[in-house]
């Protein structure tokens, strides 16, 4: 990947914000879709409880805490305790939504999630902010490998929603699903994109968002909105790109992915806000190989490296997951 050349004329962006909005300028947004949806759902689901490890405000769970103070557990800055206690509450029939940052759930508390939740198939919903590269704070807060870790865990359902429209739908769906779920959370002012496409989330289903003859983007999470923006821009270059959105990373909708990937003549481009190791790209490639589906294959994802601190737009450009970077890569590959 070629790094963009610094432009002295461009004003330097503020660096290293721990939490930054991923919304681009002028983009429509919705505030705190997760917290809002959970408050709404909890009206009819008294078994739902909220738990956090000192990150209620930063995972939008504080809205739930304000609405239902007697159903909200502050576990302190102790992620292992958070997930072990969530397992205990699930054992007693409750449905805990446990929140923290993705790095702390997947890296610090992995064994607790593995042993007390996944191995016992406990009905715990793990909701994690700052997934992939959504913080400019440096590797301590950049969960570039969270999908790889969570999809390697048996019994775990893994969801990477694109926008506020989808998060609002994922919350009741994950509550209705019996078993542990890991959801990547976009919090604060979250972009609204998929409502324009009459999108409906279904657990375990990939959805075609737009058709196209030259390229098939297979994307997840916020990369679907980047793929959609890139596809629009590529129209002027006579590149017709389809976008298949794959919000459920596990279980993977292999049937739909293969059906779309085997349409001849389209370059398959997997785009994910995640390291190229162990995420959607490798999963899609595996199933294409196993099923003899041959296509030109490209992979947009984060490098296998400790990422830099800095302003998020700068980092998304540098590591190839901004809309412009996607467009530039596509033009090079389609040239």
């Amino acid at each position: 990947m070629t790094k963009p050349v610094p432009n002295p004329a461009k004003p330097r962006l503020t660096t290293s914000a721990m939490i930054a909005s991923i919304a681009s300028e002028g983009q429509r947004t919705q505030a705190a879709p997760f917290g809002t949806a959970l408050v709404e759902l909890a009206k009819t689901r008294p078994d739902i409880i909220g738990m956090t490890a000192d990150l209620g405000k930063y995972t939008d769970l504080h809205l739930f805490g304000q609405a239902y103070p007697d159903r909200y557990y502050q576990m302190g800055m102790a992620e292992q305790l958070l997930f072990g206690a969530a397992s205990g509450l699930a054992a007693e029939g409750f449905v805990p939504f446990a929140t923290t940052y993705a790095v702390f759930a997947t890296r610090r508390a992995y064994d607790f999630i593995h042993q007390t939740i996944a191995e016992e198939d406990r009905n715990v919903k793990i909701v994690c902010a700052l997934p992939g590269l959504t913080s400019g704070y440096g590797p301590s807060h950049q969960a570039a490998e969270d999908l790889a870790l969570m999809r390697a865990m048996p019994n775990m359902t893994v969801i990477d929603p694109c926008d506020a429209c989808e998060i609002t739908q994922v919350v009741p769906a994950m509550a209705a699903h019996q078993g542990p779920v890991y959801m990547r959370l976009l919090r604060g002012q979250v972009p609204l994109v998929l409502d324009e496409y009459n999108y409906t989330f279904e657990l375990g289903k990939a959805k075609m968002i737009r058709g196209g003859r030259d390229v098939l983007f297979i994307s997840t999470g916020l990369m679907t909105m980047r793929a959609l923006e890139a596809a629009k821009q590529l129209e002027s270059d006579k590149i017709d790109a389809a976008v298949l959105h794959v919000p459920t990373i596990k279980p993977l909708d292999v049937e739909t992915i293969l059906k779309e990937a085997q349409q001849t003549g389209r370059m398959v481009v997997v785009a994910e806000n995640h390291t190229v190791v162990g995420g959607l790209g490798e999963a899609v490639a595996r199933h294409m190989m196993l099923n003899g589906v041959a296509a030109k294959f490209r992979h947009i994802g984060l490098p296998d490296a400790f990422l830099a601190a800095g302003a998020l737009p700068t980092l998304h450009d540098r590591y190839g997951i901004s809309t412009q970077a996607v467009v530039d890569q596509m033009k090079a590959w389609q040239a």
């Binding site: 409880i49 557990y73 576990m75 302190g76 102790a78 292992q80 305790l81 997930f83 072990g84 206690a85 969530a86 397992s87 205990g88 509450l89 699930a90 054992a91 007693e92 029939g93 409750f94 805990p96 064994d111 607790f112 042993q115 007390t116 191995e119 016992e120 198939d121």
Partner: protein
């Protein structure tokens, strides 16, 4: 033993039978965590035949007291108690640790009736116990959560996270027992990582704390009674100092007895030693 109070004499017989079950299971594998089973048998006898409420025919009965085994390698001890309690049929004893058995060497919730959590990864049980105790309070249940863990687990930071939170949430329905037998994988626990003074630490963490000889049945009974009856809104913990291999003198005398191998002829000697202790 002869000076035990009446009911406690019955408990001594239960403890004998728990030990005997453990030795018989040990013989199936020829090795294992026998010394721990022997040291904790008195505590388990008091838990299952004095302190706890449960229905042997319905191990998942909602009104039961929950017993969490955090130190999953003590499964041999808990199976011995669950067999004695009628929760596991006695004939399964000879399947211990074998293929297709419901009694794996390390406790797993999905395998065994009466096993409330999957152990093996030491230090996770206390946080589950906190969640269960919170859940029981939410349900306004009068059931309690009992959790057994080991002195070696005190090395794990997450145990202290959970200890702190149990006091924060005033979990007076939580009774923990820590088995201080001063042995862990690499040697004496106090040498591996100094954890004393334990009473002061646990009291400072906000727990109603008792320290007893965990092989003195009268003391164990009194400690469980006091833990249940204590009036303050605090979690309760019993520090049980125990002797590895208790009841089998040649196992008590072994220096490294965390995971012991026993020669084929010694199992009968072990059973004979237990029988001798029973008659004494």
């Amino acid at each position: 033993m002869s000076n035990l109070k009446g009911h406690n004499r019955e408990l001594a017989e239960r403890a004998y039978r728990v030990r005997r079950n453990a030795v018989l299971m040990g013989e199936v594998q020829g090795q294992g965590y026998i010394a721990q089973a022997l040291d904790i048998a008195d505590v388990l006898a008091v838990a299952y035949f004095h302190a706890m409420t449960y229905r042997p025919e319905d191990p998942e009965w909602e009104g039961r007291d929950r017993f969490l085994l955090s130190n999953g390698h003590y499964a041999i001890a808990l199976y011995s108690a669950l067999i004695e309690a009628g929760i596991i049929p006695a004939e399964e004893l000879e399947s211990y640790g074998c293929d297709e058995s419901r009694l794996p060497m390390s406790g797993m919730a999905a395998y065994t009736p009466g096993m409330e959590m999957s152990g093996g990864s030491l230090g996770v049980g206390m946080s589950i116990a906190v969640g269960m105790a919170l859940g029981l309070k939410r349900k306004k249940s009068s059931s309690r959560v009992y959790i057994l863990f080991s002195d070696g687990e005190l090395d794990e930071g997450a145990v202290w996270e959970a200890l702190m939170s149990a006091a924060h949430y005033k979990l007076d329905n939580l009774i923990a027992i820590v088995d201080v037998n001063n042995q862990q994988a690499d040697g004496p626990s106090t040498q591996v990582m100094a954890f004393e003074p334990l009473v002061q630490k646990l009291e400072a963490f906000g727990w109603f704390t008792q320290r007893i000889d965990g092989n003195d049945l009268d003391a164990v009974v009194d400690a469980f009674d006091a833990a249940k009856d204590h009036g303050e809104a605090k979690p309760r913990i019993i520090i049980a100092d125990t002797l590895m291999g208790k009841g089998v003198p040649f196992l008590e005398a072994r220096e490294k007895n965390h995971f012991i191998r026993v020669d084929a002829h010694e199992w009968q000697l072990a059973l004979a030693a237990l029988e001798e202790g029973r008659r004494a």
